[in-house]
């Protein structure tokens, strides 16, 4: 048995995620020094993150680099590479989100060209990634019309951190019970400052507005 000596209380008042936040700031400084703008792309699995990125790589007239996060497989990285962008895949194994240290290791490997636009495609998950700053300039959350218009209310933490919410798969609207205006209202209720775009990444509807948003964000 251990001996019970005098117990001292130490006041810490330190942010729990201070280490991640410090690393995120270091990432942000590194990116700024290379004039790279970074977007953290988050959504549930299957909402169309990779499809939107494939199309963006092909159509946005500026250099794009991608960090792909998935629990397993290099499948998404292969799709992005085929679309023509340099890419690094992070496989988190059991992990449900990317953090700033993983992002830094991927950044060092990827070494995006100065002046390029970097997308970090987070692990498909509407909960955990919302807490972890990666050093990005903007957070984009995708919700697809097959998921239901109430998603922003069910997963408010994620929608609360978004700079932009993209409502994807609008080509499927005739086949699903999804009211775009209701979804917009729910997004605004949780996050009044979030911009909202509706797109079909497969058919191309609404993509000029997405490219315009990116161009404005890049500055």
């Amino acid at each position: 048995m251990c001996e019970e000596g005098p117990v001292t209380t130490v006041t810490l008042e330190e942010r729990v995620l201070a280490r991640n936040d410090r690393q995120a700031q270091a990432n942000r400084d590194l990116l700024a020094a290379r004039r790279i703008r970074a977007v953290n792309l988050m959504s549930s699995p299957g909402s169309g993150k990779t499809t939107l990125l494939e199309r963006t790589v092909r159509e946005l007239r500026r250099p794009v680099a991608v960090i792909e996060g998935d629990q397993r497989t290099p499948l998404d990285a292969e799709r992005i590479r085929a679309a023509g962008a340099p890419v690094t895949q992070i496989n988190t194994g059991a992990g449900c989100h990317l953090d700033a240290a993983m992002t830094r290791r991927a950044l060092d490997e990827l070494a995006p060209a100065p002046g390029s636009l970097l997308f970090v495609e987070n692990v498909g998950n509407l909960i955990c990634p919302s807490l972890f700053d990666l050093g990005e300039d903007a957070r984009v959350v995708i919700v697809s019309v097959t998921e239901g218009a109430d998603k922003p209310l069910k997963y408010p933490y994620m929608f609360a951190v978004a700079d932009l919410v993209v409502i994807n798969k609008t080509d499927l609207l005739p086949y699903v019970d999804f009211d775009v205006d209701t979804c917009r209202r729910h997004i605004t209720a949780v996050n009044p400052r979030a911009a909202i775009l509706t797109v079909s990444a497969t058919r191309g509807d609404g993509l000029p507005a997405w490219y315009a948003w990116l161009t404005t964000m890049i500055g």
Binding site: C2, E4, G5, P6, V7, T8, T9, V10, T11, L12, E13, E14, R15, V16, L17, A18, R19, N20, G95, C96, H97, D99, I127, C128, S130, L131, F132, L153, P156, Y157, A160, A189, V190, P192
Partner: protein, 109 residues
């Protein structure tokens, strides 16, 4: 289960500050707007602390509700959910509590 990553962050921080002394108790403040689940935190705590200087340390959670200051009714109001809207109907609010995620203190032997 991001609570495991968060518990590991807490263990790393307190062990570094304890500088080899055994940690007996850690107090963490969690706001209702942070997406950190108290039950999941307690579950992950022992797992993260095992084999470290915080092995066996108690985890006290200081849970903070979500509150806003409403500029329309000039009062602090508690939020029933994540929606930053005063019960009076105004959206002209500033979140005053609920975003905390702090290691408050620790007891070391």
């Amino acid at each position: 289960m991001h609570e495991l990553a968060i518990a590991e962050n807490i263990v790393d921080t307190v062990c570094a500050r304890a500088a080899g002394r055994p940690v007996r108790r850690v107090t963490v403040r969690i706001g209702a707007l942070t997406a950190v689940l108290p039950d999941a935190m307690r579950l992950c705590w022992d797992l993260a602390a095992t084999g470290t200087a915080a092995h066996g340390a108690a985890l006290d959670l200081d849970l903070r509700p979500a509150t806003v200051f409403c500029r329309s009714c000039r009062t602090d109001r508690r939020l029933p959910d994540m929606i930053p809207l005063c019960p009076c109907g105004s959206a002209d609010v500033t979140v005053t509590t609920g975003r905390e995620l702090h290691i408050v203190s620790m007891e070391v032997a």
